[in-house]
């Protein structure tokens, strides 16, 4: 079948899928079926090549940062913005951006890829740059073990043709550098005094703090307090206010800066880059703020114990009403064990206003064992959201939610207030 015909077919399916509401990956699936090389052919034409971003936590917000930083430097960037980070999600995103002849008007592609899918993707399309953020216990029911997931990420790094950016503070990720002979390796890092605020899986049950080797990092997050962050870039300190919330998002900003510097090399003005960074907001559901009745509602996506622990450490519960929504659909991970690796003591003083989701009572049980009080439990998300909003009408609110719970909550919120639609 001709490329033009496939493009038209795919675009039609995309339109129909949109009319049906949702299904961001379906059109991509159709196109992948018709022409397995569709993505390869289309991306091969890009002058600056392909960038792959992977790791357990923070892919979506980091990708958003890298895209906006590159755009601020005048590049045309293609990305898989919907957060559908599987191959067919990329095909679907391509369908939206190419013209009818199948030509993609972009300088570079920046793609977030799920670890398991990235492995197949890079075998077909070796990226020029890759950024590996971290590896934590996520969806063990899908991948099995962290060491196995680390190997998937190593595979991505090995397939990269030019530069690999690695997290200095994650021992498993930093260790990938040892198996890279043909690539340039850059690191991003954290100042030692911030390190303690980052609980890793390895120190979850250990008292000993982690010691990182004396690897030199290109960009270091040196300080972060309230909204002000200081980065050390090539030994020079730059301080800026940020719209990003949560220290893990800000740490990933160091990752994004390192990657962007590697891509643009010398054609780069650090201060203009930081100025742009200051305007970037988190990706949807990742600390995103939605306003309802003049009160902010923050959505914090939680997918795994380390992410949940970081979220609880990053956001102070005082003066906030807190809700937690836990689903166990395939995209959330079916195993509830992970809730037992999260420490909820920080919520003890304020209590939790609302619990919801398919596994609401698993969450309630977990809080009972940390002796955290709960006001309402309602598994139905729509009803729970209503209850939560009316329970604390004049308070800022924060909802910790798993992936499919987040999508449902956004959908319900969009009916009563302004919620940014995701392309």
């Amino acid at each position: 079948m001709s490329k033009q015909l496939i493009t038209i077919l795919g675009k039609s399916v995309k339109k129909i899928a949109k009319l049906r509401g949702g299904g961001s990956a379906l059109p991509g699936l159709v196109v992948e079926h018709l022409d397995p090389n569709f993505i390869k052919h289309t991306l091969a034409s890009l002058p600056l090549g392909v960038v792959v971003i992977s790791g357990t936590n923070g892919k979506t917000t980091t990708t958003k940062m890298v895209v906006e930083l590159l755009q601020s430097q005048g590049l045309k960037v293609f990305t898989n913005r919907t957060g559908s980070n599987f191959t067919r999600g990329i095909a679907a995103a391509l369908l939206g951006d190419i013209d009818i002849k199948g030509h993609l008007d972009a300088d570079i592609a920046v793609l977030e890829l799920d670890e398991a899918h990235a492995v197949h993707f890079v075998d077909k399309i070796p990226p020029r740059f890759s950024l590996i953020l971290n590896v934590m216990r996520d969806q063990l029911d899908r991948f099995g073990e962290i060491d196995y997931t680390t190997n998937l990420l190593r595979h991505i790094a090995n397939a990269t043709t030019e530069t690999v950016v690695l997290n200095r503070e994650d021992a498993r990720i930093a260790g990938i550098a040892k198996s890279l002979d043909n690539q340039k390796v850059c690191f991003f890092g954290l100042d030692d005094k911030l390190l303690a605020t980052f609980p890793s899986d390895d120190n979850l049950h250990k008292k000993t703090p982690k010691v990182h080797a004396t690897i030199k990092a290109d960009v270091i997050l040196s300080e972060f307090k309230n909204k002000s962050a200081t980065f050390t870039i090539n030994d020079k300190k730059i301080t800026t206010n940020l719209k990003l919330t949560g220290i893990y998002n800000v740490f990933n900003a160091a990752a994004a800066l390192t990657l962007v510097k590697a891509i643009l090399k010398h054609n780069l003005d650090n201060s203009s880059l930081i100025k742009k960074l200051a305007t970037i907001t988190p990706a949807f559901g990742r600390g995103e703020v939605i306003t309802l009745n003049n009160q902010p509602i923050e959505l914090v996506l939680v997918k795994n114990p380390s992410g949940f622990r970081l979220g609880l450490k990053s956001f102070s519960p005082s003066n906030y009403a807190t809700m937690i929504a836990i689903n166990d659909n395939y995209a959330d991970g079916r195993d509830m064990s992970w809730l037992w690796d999260v420490d909820f003591n920080s919520l003890k003083e304020q209590g939790v206003a609302q619990i919801s989701g398919i596994r609401a009572y698993d969450m309630a049980l977990r809080l009972q064992y940390d002796e955290v009080s709960i006001k309402h439990i309602e598994p139905n998300l729509k009803k729970a959201l209503k209850q939560f909003i009316s329970f604390a009408p004049d308070k800022p609110k924060r909802i910790y939610c798993t992936y499919t719970a987040m999508l449902a909550l956004r959908r319900n919120l969009s009916k009563i207030t302004n919620v940014e639609t995701i392309k």
């Binding site: 979850l204 079916r334 309630a364 064992y369």
Partner: protein
Amino acid sequence: MKNKKIRILHLYPNDMNIYGDHGNVMTLQRRLEWYGYEPEVISYNQGDPFPDNIDIVVGGGGQDSGQNKIKTDLLLIGPQLQKLADKETPMLVICGLYQLFGKFFKTANGEIIKGIGLFDIETYAKSERLIGNIIINSEQFGDIIGYENHSGQTFLGHKASALGHVQLGAGNNAEAINEGARYKNAIGSYLHGSLLPKNPAIADFLIEKAIIKRYGEFSGNVIDDRFVGLARKAAIKRPR
């Protein structure tokens, strides 16, 4: 009842700690407190002196790398654990430590990792990973609800009895109708979830055995188990 101490030995928390098995230790600790006793959790990691006067032993699952780190040390303390089990000390070991409490684990490349043989079980690495929600049934504990995630498949010898019969899921191995193993008051199982918070009948079994052994009789306050009842109800309806 104050100052009535119960000493819980937590095996290898540094290296065998994935899949939320920490919830088992927390459940024993809290329920003992709620009953009015004073729990003391002692972490045992490789090379540590083996503590005295242990009332309950708990251990969890780990990655292959974690198991490799502790396997030699476990053989060293094996006789002490066996002695405790023989004297009817309640124990709970999950997944990785369940396997190593058996006779051996045979890896994919044919290597034999020796276990301490407390359970009459043998485990073989298989390519298929058994993953998903699991419900088993036991006469003593009723429905036991959890989540399994293992590629080692375990076979019971003549001397071992199972923890329960599989209602949903795989269990000890792909063909098995049984799950877990028991020896006196020791229980081995593949169930995460964590197992004890969702199955308080097993938690209370371990607790009561420990208290009766130490203090002659068990009495305690009533615990509010409404949430766990509802959590179990929701979990039973979920697909594999």
